[in-house]
């Protein structure tokens, strides 16, 4: 294969991922994307022209050596490919699935200038899955014990990547998690059909084998405070995510049938309500119901596609702007459409109406049109006078983002936060205003992405390592 010319490489068409048929998958919770076969992966790897200046690397927030791992796939050395990924990304099987590649690595891929970009995400997923399925999770090498103890608060991607790195650096690491299971949004938010729980579980098992300790059911701020942890630990990393749901603040939001996306997805994913009554947590009976999801991000897509799988007769996305502004991954929007989701764009909710005994029965929608561009250059939606419509629905899911949870900041007065409650840190060292306390992920940036949260965790791990080894600096 070595004699293939760049031109020939560029002529190969991007390989689609095999997926479940839309009409089948919209009735089950199994993964939609089925992955590349070995042959497909190697053929897709051929498409990478091994750029001298690989722009893709700059497009990746954790700067994975993309051409190198793709080369290994081309050569059939999948183990080596996985090892390259693991150097910069603790959770490649996760990121290969959920990264917004079209905004990051694949956006700037040279092949993408003329053709479809190399499917970097699919290849990343392939290598990571191959390793997990054939070799099991590979344990990294560990430096000799440092004798330092570090507490990680929050078991999401930020906390897990920080824990993994610090563990390898020889420190004694304990992760404190409020819920009864580890993974953060990866297990309570992102549904099984997009990210199987078993993948997250395998990664967490790997960390356990490496010696990371997990304390679930520990709400830091209540079960222990940050100050109490500081008495026992040399440093703390806070990665508690953005877990405070925003509501629309319109009339009728207290009606039965109106959910936050966090509640809706947590009931179904973490609490397995799709398996009710075998599992105890109930879910409003969605079967045959009309569901409207408000928002245009990944969360909204996850909620609306979940509704279809729970048997909704009509599942709608209602979004204020147009499709171009939707923050969701392109693939999620495409999958949602294929599965039968309706998109109602340029529409904003005004009011929920209910029956006398408190059940949601409709939403009133204000139709919009695009007005003049605003300061950011985007054309703002403005209401069309009189264009108001009432749509019958029994279930509404609000997926318009999350703020930061105040439990830690309220109980740690000397931890500086901004007016939205995000913890203020130094961009390079991830140090907070409080000595010994670092933070990263959604609690610092507001709701962002898995890879950014992981990148922040790694950056903090480096800074924590330096700090605990020569404590004077702050």
């Amino acid at each position: 294969m070595a004699d293939i010319t760049p031109k020939e490489r560029m002529a190969i068409k991007r390989h689609h991922m095999i997926e479940q048929d839309a009409d089948v998958r919209n009735k089950n919770f199994s993964e939609v994307n089925l992955g590349y076969s070995v042959e497909l992966a190697q053929e897709e790897a051929l498409r990478c022209i091994q750029c001298k200046k690989p722009l893709c690397i700059d497009g990746c927030p954790v700067m994975i050596n993309i051409p190198a791992f793709i080369k290994k796939i081309e050569e059939g050395d999948f183990k080596a490919a996985a090892a390259i990924l693991k150097k910069d990304n603790a959770l490649p099987a996760v990121c290969g699935r959920v990264c917004p590649q079209e905004e990051q690595c694949e956006k700037v891929c040279t092949v993408g200038k003329k053709n479809a970009p190399v499917a970097i995400g699919y290849l990343e997923r392939f290598a990571a899955d191959w390793e997990r399925n054939n070799l099991g999770i590979q344990l990294a090498e560990k430096k000799p014990p440092s004798g330092k103890k570090i507490a990680i608060v929050g078991g999401g991607p930020a906390g897990l990547s920080c824990a993994g790195d610090l563990n390898q650096m020889g420190h004694d690491v304990t992760v404190f998690e409020a819920l009864h299971d580890i993974g953060g949004v990866l297990i309570y938010g992102i549904p099984e059909f997009r990210l199987p729980k078993a993948i997250v579980k395998a990664e967490v098992e790997g960390l356990k084998k490496m010696g990371v300790e997990f304390k679930t059911n520990s709400v830091i701020g209540l079960t222990d405070t940050i100050d109490e942890l500081l008495q026992e630990y040399d440093a703390i990393f806070i990665g508690v995510g953005a877990g405070l749901p925003y509501f629309l603040n319109i009339p009728g939001e207290q009606l039965n049938g109106v959910y936050s996306s966090n509640e809706y997805l947590t009931r179904v994913n973490l609490m397995k309500a799709y398996d009710f009554p075998r599992s105890d947590t109930p879910m409003f009976n969605i079967e045959g119901k009309q569901v409207a999801v408000f928002g245009g991000g990944n969360t909204a897509m996850d909620a609306v596609r979940t509704s279809l799988r729970l048997g909704a007769s009509r599942a709608m996305i209602i979004y204020r702007r147009t499709e171009a502004e939707m923050p969701a991954r392109i693939e999620e929007v495409k999958h949602a459409k294929e599965e039968g989701v309706e998109f109602m764009l340029l529409a904003g909710p005004l009011e929920f109406k209910g029956t006398d005994d408190g059940w949601l029965k409709s939403v009133t929608i204000q139709k919009m049109e695009l007005g003049e561009p605003d300061a950011s250059g985007r054309r703002r939606p403005v209401p069309i006078e009189g264009a108001i419509e009432e749509i019958p629905i029994e279930v509404a899911v609000i997926a318009i983002g999350n703020g930061s949870n105040p439990i830690i900041s309220k109980t740690t007065p000397d931890l500086n936060v901004n007016k939205w409650g995000n913890i203020l840190v130094d961009d390079n060292s991830m140090k907070s205003s409080k000595k010994g306390v670092f933070a990263g992920g959604d609690i610092v940036t507001g709701g962002a992405t898995v890879i950014l949260a992981m990148g922040a965790g790694r950056k903090a791990a480096k800074a924590i390592d330096e700090y605990v080894r020569n404590k004077e600096s702050w």
């Binding site: 409020a178 819920l179 009864h180 679930t216 059911n217 520990s218 709400v219 209540l222 079960t223 222990d224 877990g243 405070l244 749901p245 509501f247 603040n249 939001e253 207290q254 039965n256 959910y259 936050s260 966090n262 509640e263 947590t266 009931r267 609490m271 397995k272 398996d275 009710f276 009554p277 075998r278 599992s279 105890d280 947590t281 109930p282 879910m283 409003f284 009976n285 005994d357 408190g358 949870n405 105040p406 439990i407």
Partner: protein
């Protein structure tokens, strides 16, 4: 996993558990609660910490079997384990020396009121406790209340014990007798709490109730526990569970708690069938 060191029925369907949870026992304050799961596929349900013992590291909860999870829980015995338990959650009660405080508990609400009544007494209040039950055997914790309160009045709807009538009638009687009441804590079924709020409002007596919406995480993450207080949305698990009774919208709380009525029935029937099947299998083995 948390071990049950003591489990005993206080009344039909109402069971007291002392459970090992040293950290929570150390930390918890009156008014706070825990969330537990009975088994790995179990629901997360909130229960008030009725008492704790720092020495042996246990907390006490008192549970009324009303649906699947609470009935599963009430089937557990001393020496068995609870899948997991998190806390202490929620804000602690605002304890002050108000002067004369009346603690009103209806049914299992008495268990929820107990720790706060105790704390009110410790803060120097003259504490009067009204313990309501439909009938004599549902009057809970009378001895425990007597040990920490100055006056205790059991009431029963059917007159089988104590004052014949509702807790609100007893409260009105105390007010009519000219007792100057400075603070009322009312915990029980929603209609009872709403009725107490009606009684105290004209007199301007500061009244606090503990709300019991349906919860999931208990940390402010899901918003499922939201209630309307003072015309604003609150998350009961982190902003409460105790609120000014005169500002709570009880109507909406009542409706929201009916959200899963149908599913609760299915769950219960599913459980009964399972329970019956297991018992039949046990018999078959014998």
């Amino acid at each position: 996993m948390n071990r049950i060191v003591e489990a005993r029925f206080l009344a039909p369907d109402i069971k007291l558990f002392r459970i090992e949870a040293p950290k929570i026992a150390e930390k918890r304050k009156a008014g706070q609660f825990i969330i537990l799961r009975v088994h790995p596929d179990g629901e997360r349900i909130p229960l008030t910490i009725a008492d704790s013992n720092k020495k042996d590291g246990t907390i006490t909860i008192i549970v009324q079997g009303v649906g699947k999870t609470t009935r599963q829980l009430n089937n557990l015995e001393t020496g068995e384990y609870i899948q997991d338990l998190v806390g202490p959650l929620g804000k602690a009660s605002d304890i002050e020396n108000y002067g004369t405080a009346v603690s009103i508990g209806g049914g299992v609400g008495t268990a929820i009121a107990f720790p706060t009544a105790k704390a009110l007494k410790e803060a120097g209040n003259h504490v009067i406790s009204i313990i309501g039950g439909r009938t004599k055997e549902l009057v809970l914790l009378e001895d425990e209340m007597r040990a920490v309160c100055d006056e205790v009045y059991p009431t029963t709807d059917d007159g089988s014990y104590g004052f014949h009538g509702f807790v609100t009638q007893k409260l009105q009687e105390l007010i009519n007798a000219g007792i100057k009441i400075d603070f009322v804590l009312a915990i029980g079924p929603i209609p009872m709490m709403a009725a107490v709020a009606e009684v105290t409002k004209p007199y301007g007596i500061k009244t606090v109730v503990s709300l019991n919406p349906i919860m999931v995480d208990g940390t402010g993450m899901c918003g499922g526990c939201r209630a309307i207080v003072d015309d604003k949305t609150v998350f009961v698990c982190v902003d409460g569970p105790e609120f000014d009774a005169h500002k709570v919208n009880f109507n909406i709380l009542t409706k929201r708690n009916r959200m899963y009525l149908l599913q609760e029935k299915i769950s219960n029937e599913h459980y009964c069938k399972l329970d019956k099947k297991i018992k039949e299998e046990e018999v078959a083995v014998l």
